[in-house]
Symmetry: C2
Subunit: 583 residues, 2 copies
């Protein structure tokens, strides 16, 4: 076996062509085995095996520096840079993260998880090299849908300006997470169809040199192409055509489902565990499809992650032109929605909390200044969301809720969520975002008019102390209130604020007469968040406030229960804090 | 005179070719006269006179809808859509804003001020039209440097997907605010040089149809080209070549200085008022140029606004490859800086507060997760900054300061600012941003070690009440402290927090023993800002807090003094609040 003997790229360089092919086979087998147990990014890594071997054969990492876009394609790179045990030994599967990180290896230069960043980051490495008079090669690897992101296109446009060594490998597997969207992919197809010879060439139009590798899963061709551009004195694009999912039949057959996959039976490709509970993504698509049938002006918009709100392929087909995938282009998605709304449509944009971060200015300028009625659904916005440092869903409240005009709602139950959607899609006054909870909880059907902004809901009228529990933390607030009553005999007031973006001054004022303290609970960081606004409101009064939520920090690969405990967010800790406040 | 008789586009349609030429002359004269008195965007509007006439001649606004990028090119559009008085009658010059806004006219569809948004917004209008079964033409006008912005490129990429009528006018005047930067401009040049015939074509590579107009200041050619694409059943790009500043010799000769210009003598082009005081932009460039000479790894980075930190042309030449203009591409700029820093460089990114908004995700992901030592200088971050709704500098604190790892500093004096720059550029621990004040104030040279994070400065030790005055509001805080002492006999403690991003827990704790109240002052919106963190800190204590700052709202064309009064931020109001708190 070759793989287990590879301790660094130097060991790759010693291999013959045939040995490298054998290594590729071993790497695929290791990938499939680990992924079947552990889950993770399947298609992207299976397609890149040969390219990564060739990169390490030709270049001298870590002096030469590789920057992998999204870095979900770095499993093979990790295998060849001293981290193979994490792919061969099941007990060590968790020794590496799913992305590149400089804390793990000298061969990784950045912690990366969002798309479309590699060209810009690599251009920076190249400029840094030039400023200090270095001579190493800088290599950016991009593809798998990332090219359509604004930052990637800005980076390609700048690369020409750099004017010195920068090698941009475009990994063209014909796919994003789902199918590719955007006109530039017609050009990639033209280039594939003409073996890279077509004159009309996006990369040349950006002022860059260009070279084409027809079979990006052939190590020899790759080595030849990479050797030819090594030490290039100017920026150059190497367009390689690879097969997503290569070597694992189910992943080749259904590229979208196998982009990222839960643990599966390697033999059959069937998931090890089927989820049969209710899911907000699924429920949202059902709701929107029903709406679309009644109203042709309803449109569902995604930026490359259609399944975030349940639009798998058959549903996209069902929705037809009322479903819009703009490709990975969050900025465009928000501006597009604003435009749709300004011309009579009812757009609903479904997006992960972590990715809505990519569009602050469009939220502010294109949407909120214009005050157009658009509905944004923020998914995985929770400590229980994705736990990778680059995919946290705990920053959306400070990021979005301080933008004027936006109405950001926090439902606690399915029934509330649907009532908010009903209201939001039919009103014409405000841009609205809804923070979709993780787990589906049912409750009573609300009768509330959400158009009367910033009216909080009093779930339980008590005295002395009030618990204001936002969105998905309403259940936690209710449990804490119960425990407080048990421990003190005092029945707390329990409030669901519903609105993240505003203060119910009348209600909060009324609490002053018979409440000594208020505790706020929010599933996100405290800094710039919801609770601080309550603290400001009561700042000059006799009402004491305690804000409970997450700390301002980049968590990574964490245990949510542990984080909550660390932040004083268990039922017992909340009750204890309450007892201190009113005793 | 034709112009004063034009009440709507219908009146343009009645004119002959010769009459339209005469109208163009009148419009230029009106532009130059108003601009000489009022200041504003000169070059962009002078170049677009004929194109706007032709647009209104061919299309039927407001049913057909125009979206102007940045909308600083809409002066001529305003003249032809019932707003000519605001360009002919000096007493009415302020009746229109400098940008498009739907509150002013049915011919404007959005409030726009940031670049690179028009294609996406127009694509949205087109999609909205398609959803409701409409048939009007949708026209986006983009150019003047905006093409390099990620949102614009995302929009162009999506346009192909739309597949229906969308007419994209690319106004190619060979310039951004300064000269253009980026490889795509090599392609525009190639297209100009070949009369649009070159096969290598950025727009075709994006999947779009394309047509070329050699003389974009010739009304007849423009009418022919626009007529040919009117009612197009698919997206099409019309590339028109115009001359920035056309018809006013000084603006043609020095296109950069005349992009936007203060009031001037129309005869000579000389500014009516020369500014001879100290200016932070100028001082920053002087400082950085001196640094660059000593240290070749120092780089100054701009995204299309080099003069924001004093790098006019001669200074850019002096800095050579240590000055980087990435074009209008803020996302790329931040990622580039992170990369430069990761490979041994010392980048300093100078940017307007309003435009740093365009790069939240890059600040978070590319920069702060990676914790690279980059210095960002935020200019015009103040109620005294730009007063247009789209260019406000009052949101950067909530936007940036809640991102983990970032150290955001608020100097009050020139000496502090330079000491912070000295520290920031030499340390290797943190990404740092500095909120550069508006007016230059001098003070003592600090001896502070900024690397000991979150240590506030006590400027005056007092009792009962503390005033915590952030950055440029330190002077206001000092005045208020004086007045409080005069009115109450109590000497307040005066604190300059220096750090926007952290709490000096030890100091704040120590105040609890002999202070009853704390007032915070910040030059930005309160929501998600600095003061709320102080309110949270003291929430469960006996110390009362009052946070003074701006309201969460989109101000427009406002008087700063009035806004401050409305927010309780005059010296007298602050003192009055203090008296209430401690009496």
């Amino acid at each position: 076996m070759y793989l287990e003997k590879i301790n660094s790229p130097a060991d790759v360089k010693k291999l013959s062509g045939e040995e490298m092919k054998a290594l590729a086979q071993e790497m695929r087998a290791a990938l499939i085995k680990k992924l079947s147990v552990h889950g993770g990014h399947c298609g992207p890594n299976l397609g890149m095996v040969e390219a990564v071997i060739a990169l390490h054969y030709v270049f001298n990492s870590p002096e030469d520096k590789f920057v992998f876009d999204v870095s979900h394609q770095t499993y093979c790179h990790k295998m060849l840079t001293g981290r193979s045990a994490a792919f061969l030994d099941e007990s060590k599967y968790n020794d590496v993260t799913g992305y590149s990180t400089q804390h793990e290896s000298a061969h990784d230069h950045f912690t990366i998880g969002h798309t479309s960043t590699s060209v810009s980051l690599a251009a920076g490495l190249a400029k840094g090299r030039d400023l200090r008079g270095g001579h190493e090669n800088i290599v950016a690897v991009i593809g798998d849908g990332s090219l359509s992101g604004g930052e990637a296109l800005e980076g390609l446009d700048y690369a020409y300006e750099l004017g010195t060594n920068l090698i941009i490998i475009v990994n063209d597997n014909g796919m994003s997470i789902a199918e590719n969207h955007g006109g530039l992919y017609t050009n990639l197809k033209l280039l594939r169809d003409t073996d890279g010879r077509a004159e009309c060439n996006l990369f040349k139009a950006m002022g860059l040199d260009y070279t084409f590798v027809k079979d990006g899963n052939d190590i020899e061709s790759l080595i030849a192409a990479f050797s030819a551009v090594k030490d290039s004195a100017k920026p150059v694009v190497v367009h390689i055509v690879t097969e997503k999912g290569r070597g694992y039949a189910p992943a080749v057959a259904d590229k979208e489902s196998w982009h990222w996959h839960v643990p599966f039976d390697a033999e059959t490709g069937k998931p090890r565990h089927e989820w049969d509970g209710e899911d907000y993504g699924d429920l949202t698509a059902q709701y929107l499809l029903a709406k679309m049938k009644k109203d042709p002006t309803v449109a569902a918009v995604t930026s490359g992650t259609p399944t975030v709100f349940g639009f798998w392929k058959s549903r996209r087909e069902e929705a037809g032109s009322q479903f819009i995938d703009v490709g990975i282009a969050e900025e465009h998605a928000v501006a597009l929605c604003s435009g749709i709304s300004a011309n009579g449509g009812k757009p609903v944009y479904g997006v992960y909390s972590s990715f809505i971060q990519r569009t602050y200015d469009q939220l502010s300028q294109d949407l909120c200044i214009n005050n157009n009625p658009v509905t944004i659904l923020t998914f995985a916005a929770s400590v229980y969301g994705m736990t990778d440092i680059t995919h946290l869903g705990i920053f959306d409240i400070p990021m979005m809720s301080n933008i004027p005009n936006l109405v950001y709602l926090a439902p606690a139950t399915y029934e509330e969520y649907i009532a908010m959607l009903d209201w939001s899609m039919e009103q014409r006054e405000h841009p609205v975002a809804i923070r979709v909870p993780g787990a589906v909880v049912h409750g009573e059907k609300p009768t509330k008019d959400y158009g009367v902004l910033n009216k909080y809901e009093v779930l339980q009228q008590g005295s002395d102390i009030a618990v204001i529990a936002l969105g998905a933390f309403r259940g936690l607030g209710a449990e804490a209130a119960k425990l407080i009553e048990q421990q003190t005999g005092v029945k707390p007031t329990l409030i669901d604020p519903v609105y993240i973006t505003g203060i119910d001054e009348q209600l909060l004022d009324s609490l002053k007469s018979d409440h000594r303290a208020v505790i706020t609970l929010e599933d996100g960081i405290l800094d710039g968040g919801f609770g601080e606004k309550i603290a400001r409101f009561y700042g000059d009064s006799d009402v004491k406030t305690v804000n409970l939520g997450l700390k301002k920090q980049f968590l990574d690969c964490y245990d949510p229960a542990e984080v909550l405990r660390d932040c004083g967010l268990t039922t017992e800790q909340i009750a204890q804090r309450a007892v201190q406040l009113i005793s």
